[in-house]
Every structure is written in C-alpha cells, then in structure tokens.
C-alpha cells in the first residue's frame, strides 16, 4: 500500500489557503468596513460568524441524515463516513452558533439565553442529539454495527426535529429572535455584503474540515482492514509445512 502520512491534497491546500485569505478579508470587512448598527452598535458584527455557522450547521446535519439513510438503504461505507464527518463538523459549528448567539444576546436582549425562543431551544436540543450521535459513534464494536446504530440515531434526530420545533413554537409564542436577517431587507449594503462573504468563507472552512475529517476516517478504516488482512496472511502461513513456529521449536 502507498505510504500516506497526511490528508492534504491540491484541493484541500487551495481550500485552506482560500480560508485563510477569506478570514483575513472577513475580519477587515467585519471590523472596519461594515457600519455599526443603530440599535445594536458593535454587537451586530457577531452576525458575520453567527449566521454563517448556523446555516452550515443545518447543512451539516442534513448531510448526516442523508448519509445515514444511504447507509441503511445501500450499505454505502462512503456515505457512512460522510455522515460521521459531517456530524463532527456540524457539532463544532452548532456549538459556535450557540456560543456566538448567547454572547450577542447579552448586550442586545439583556440575557444570554431566552427560553421563549423557538430557534434557540430547538438548536440546543439538536446540539444535544448530535452529541449523542457522536457518542454512539465512539462506542466501539464491529464497524457495521456502529454505522447502523449511528445511522438510526441520525434518522431519528432528523425525524424528531420538526416536532421539537413545533413544540417549542407552541410552548411560548413571544420570540425575541430576529426573523431571517438575510431576507428581511433591513441590512445595510456593506453589512449584507460582509455577511455574504462570511457565508462563503465559513462554507470554504466547512468543506476543508469535512474533507480532512472524511479522509482521516477513511484511512482509519483502511488501517483496520489492512491489519485484518495481514493477520489472515500470517495465520495462513502458519498452516504451511515448516512455517509453524511450533515445528521450528521442535
């Protein structure tokens, strides 16, 4: 087997470089070019991290759900690995979304957390479910069993989520959360532009991280199966005449 000691490739290096350049541009745009908000002042700049990470969180978890279904229906190892990679990056982004949201909420709503908010509570429950998904992934045991367990949790999370959303929505109707910042047309031009840049930069980072995580998971799988192959060859060799360590000792 070809010796591999990294998970980089031309594509990921280009992506990585683009992420670095993009992040620098985003910081400059976010801090110096985009104007401060009339009501929220500097806190508004949090949306350049918050909104993109929220959107990519949902894309990640939809990817996990699709990957889970593909494993259950087609036994596709590729899709199973995609689901696992997307879940990990999704949890990272989801944590970032919750963190930036509550940091932003403190000066704006005067509270870190608002229980009456549908999106907040739903996102937290999604976060907890996906942490459960990752803990199922790390349970060990045969690979196909782990994949099946995780896939069922992935499908279950996707099926329950609309109900969680409904229940929280009916639970308290007074929401503090903003309606979609992207579509309501109230954003300043430069703010909107920076937000779009943020979406792209975080998207590039998302794909960069997913590619690496996917390759690591894939290589881990290869190592495990090559260990098995080698053990099989060794056991077979023991059966050949004169090759047995026992006979040598005699």
């Amino acid at each position: 087997m070809q010796e591999i000691n990294h998970t980089g490739s031309r594509t990921t290096r280009l992506l990585g470089a683009a992420v670095i350049v993009g992040l620098v541009a985003l910081v400059l745009l976010g801090w110096f070019v985009a104007p401060e908000d009339d009501d929220q002042q500097d806190a508004v700049r949090m949306i350049f991290v918050h909104v993109p990470s929220a959107i990519w969180t949902y894309i990640a978890f939809v990817t996990t759900a699709i990957g889970s279904v593909m494993w259950l229906v087609r036994r596709s190892v590729w899709w199973d690995t995609v689901a696992a990679a997307a879940a990990e990056i999704g949890v990272l982004f989801c944590g970032l979304t919750l963190f930036t949201g509550s940091v932003w909420g403190r000066p704006t709503w005067n509270t870190y957390w608002d229980w009456g908010d549908v999106r907040l509570v739903t996102t937290l429950i999604l976060f907890l479910m996906m942490i459960g998904y990752l803990s199922v992934r790390s349970l060990g045991g045969p690979e196909s069993a782990t994949a099946t367990r995780a896939a069922i949790v992935g499908v279950m999370a996707a099926a329950i989520l609309p109900i969680v959303n409904r229940s929280v929505e009916w639970w308290e109707n007074n929401t503090l959360h903003q309606k979609s910042s992207l579509t309501d047309g109230n954003l300043e031009d430069m703010t909107l532009f920076t937000l779009v840049v943020g979406l792209i930069v975080w998207g590039l980072f998302f794909w960069w991280a997913i590619l690496h995580r996917f390759r690591i998971a894939w290589l881990e799988r290869e190592i495990r199966s090559s260990d098995l192959d080698r053990a099989l060859v060794e056991r077979r060799a023991e059966g050949e005449p004169g090759a047995s360590p026992l006979e040598e000792r005699v």
């Binding site: 907890l128 459960g132 069993a145 229940s167």
Partner: protein, 222 residues
C-alpha cells in the same frame, strides 16, 4: 402479528412481575424524586404549585430511562436476544411487544405519581379525561422511543450512561407537550391541553413507525 405482540409483552410483564423490580425499586425511586423536588422547592409553595406538572413529567422521564434500561437488560443477559431472533417472531412484533410492556409499567408508575403529587404537592385534578389521555399518549411515545434506543445500545458496555444521553433530548417534545397538557388538566395554567395531545400523538406515531422499521436491522446487526 397481534398474537406475537401480546406474547412478547406478556413475557416481559411476567418477568417484571416475578422479579418485582418495578414495584420494589422503580416506584420508590419515583416517589423519592418527588420528595427531593419537594425539599428543593417547598420553601416556596407557589413555585411548587406552578411547577407541579413539570416536576411530574421530569420524574416520569427518569422512570422511563430506568424502565427501558431494565427492558434492555432482560434481552441482553443470557443471550436472550439471539433466542428471540431464532424464535421466528417478527422483529416489529418484538419491538411493539416490548414497547407495550414498557408503556404499561410507565402507566402504573404514573398512576402512583398522580397520587404522589395530589398528596405531596397539593395538586387537584380539574379534568380527568385529559389527564388520562395525556398519560396514555405520552407513555406510548416514551416507550416507543425508549425501546428503540434501548435496543440500539443493548450490545455495548457503556449502555447505562449512553442511553440517557440519547433518550432524554429525544423526549424533549414529550416533556414540553405533556407538561402543558397537565397544566390544563390540573388547572394550574390556562392553556388548551387537548391541542398538546396532538403533538404527543404525532411524536408517538413517528417513533412507533421508526422503531417497527428499524428494530429488525438492530436485532440482526448489533
């Protein structure tokens, strides 16, 4: 199919009846949790009154986790799962049978707990039909989701710790819906409790279908 469901449910309930785990451990545990909530909040009587339905359902969720763990343990010891597979019973029937058994045990504990909140928390029942319906529908949802996730972690060593992590977030809608319906049934908050029953029913239906579909795969592969 129906006969198989009844067979599996009767088997689990018989084991439960003979070992008396629900009676001698789960019910006392549930009452203990109520007492602890009382200690934590009793200094402030209005808070306890307002929180009664929430505390009731949090207790039921804990009991749900315990019951599911117990139902899973029955199958994992002595390779009973494999025997169940070899018996030629349809996996969906095994799932439904086990879920029915868990739901019935939950209902039993819920009845005791209603007595507990009436005595300890001074709750009064305003609408018995709503209260009964909520208990029935919520138990089905908890039992279905729990039985599926219980089977999912059955084969692994860390199952006692993993099960609550998986199950409790999934049961969040049950906690919200059942608490609201109970608020109405106990007359603590003016909400339309029957509307919340719809949500609980939806949750139960989705989990029952998911479980019936996925149980076979889990039994065979894990």
């Amino acid at each position: 199919m129906l006969a198989d469901i009844r067979l599996v449910a009767a088997k689990d309930l018989r084991i439960e009846w003979r070992s008396r785990v629900t009676l001698s451990q789960v019910v006392p545990f549930a009452l203990l949790v109520l007492v602890l909530f009382g200690f934590a909040l009793d200094a402030n009587r209005p808070v306890l009154d307002a929180a009664t339905s929430g505390l009731y359902w949090v207790t039921v969720l804990f009991v749900g986790v315990m019951s599911v763990q117990r139902a899973t343990a029955i199958e994992t010891t002595d390779g009973a799962r494999r025997a169940l597979l070899l018996a030629g019973v349809e996996p969906a029937a095994v799932f439904l049978g086990k879920a029915v058994a868990v739901a019935l045990q939950l209902l039993f504990v819920e009845v005791v707990l209603v007595g507990g909140v009436i005595v300890l928390f001074d709750a009064s029942i305003e609408s018995l039909p709503l209260l009964t319906a909520t208990c029935l529908v919520a138990s089905v949802g908890i039992a279905a989701a729990g039985t599926l996730l219980g089977a999912l972690v059955a084969g692994v060593r860390a199952r006692e710790t993993v099960l609550p992590i998986l199950l409790l977030p999934v049961l969040a809608p049950v906690l919200i819906g059942a608490t609201r319906a109970f608020d109405d049934a106990l007359g603590t908050v003016a909400v339309d409790g029957w509307a919340w029953l719809g949500l609980l029913a939806g949750f139960g239906a989705i989990n029952t279908v998911l479980g019936a579909l996925a149980y076979g795969v889990l039994l065979e592969e894990t």
